[in-house]
Point group: C2
Chain length 165, copies 2
DNA sequence: TCAGGATACATGCATTTGCATCTATCTCGA
DNA sequence: TCGAGATAGATGCAAATGCATGTATCCTGA
């Protein structure tokens, strides 16, 4: 993902990291995501419903209130706004989500899970988490896994706050 | 990405993690990748060449020998084999890579960077690493960044070894 | 050695995606 | 209050993608 560049010397100290160290971390994170996702995608469960479609159902299942606005949903998915709009079209045609006008903003659309959508998400999700656990196996122990979660969450929060879209 | 499931109690001990902890770690890693990638994609540098096309040039730049086989290249990218084949078509038409028969396997294709391809990768790459560093900012210190690199690399290596495609 | 199956890559075709643009609604300052 | 600009989402259309399949080459056991 990155190329070597002139840079100050590598420092493994707990101070400001070099550009190179930063790029290496991103490269490693990114490749790991590719490696894991490639294998998750082959799960036969995702022949019924693509993994992106599942991801939208999963995100919606996390906010059982009134659903999510399309643009909020869009922040969780790596798709252009128009592509997400059509992905929601497909889910709507399958009866897994509903669209309704946002109560406080006439421009907005509120997307919410239907009963069938929730049931589908839960059914696929059960097998999906098992598949994740099977893939990860014993690669990382409990402490390492917790640290991975903490570091990625910290990075994500920082990027969201200091570089809004 | 995942749904809650019945599971043994959460353990933050350094022993075998629960299914839930594993799914949480994957979810956090995945969302972070989405958050960062979404922002990297908006770099105007990727109007000249899509980020996936750049990624292929970058991967090729790491093996300056004779290039890479199409199927090796495919392991680094989240694309179906046929899609990668056509992505390489596009790069070839732009004069950034060459295709030639693999020396030891008549079925294989060896993809290699041209001079122009290497130059393009380096030019885009220089700005790209700076953009990564700008995004990451001071989110993680040097030690945390090194730990993130170590954990993701360890996970990736484990998955590649124990779950070949 | 050679037939049957596996593997590497390319290609036809339908689906999905993104860009540009459109409409509708909202916001804010004069 | 009104008008200019901003924002949310939908849509036309070209490009990119994936699935199924095709062709060529390789491998293996009888």
């Amino acid at each position: 993902m990155t190329a070597p560049t002139a840079d100050r010397p590598v420092s493994h100290s707990p101070s400001a990291p070099s550009v190179r160290e930063t790029a290496e971390a991103w490269e490693s994170l990114f490749r790991t995501q590719v490696t894991v996702m490639r294998r998750l995608q082959t799960d036969p469960a995702f022949r019924e419903l693509g993994i992106k479609e599942y991801d939208v159902l999963f995100t919606l299942s996390g906010c059982p209130g009134g659903g999510l606005r399309l643009n909020e949903l869009n922040n969780h998915v790596l798709l252009a706004q128009s592509s997400l709009s059509r992905l929601v079209d497909r889910l709507e045609r399958k009866g897994l989500v509903t669209r309704r006008a946002a109560p406080e903003d006439g421009r907005g659309t509120l997307i919410a899970l239907t009963e069938a959508g929730l049931e589908t998400q839960r059914r696929i999700g059960r097998g999906h988490v098992r598949e994740i656990a099977r893939l990860f196996g014993t690669a990382l122990d409990g402490g390492e896994l917790a640290e991975l979660t903490r570091l990625t969450a910290k990075l994500r929060q920082h990027v969201e706050e200091s570089h809004p879209l």
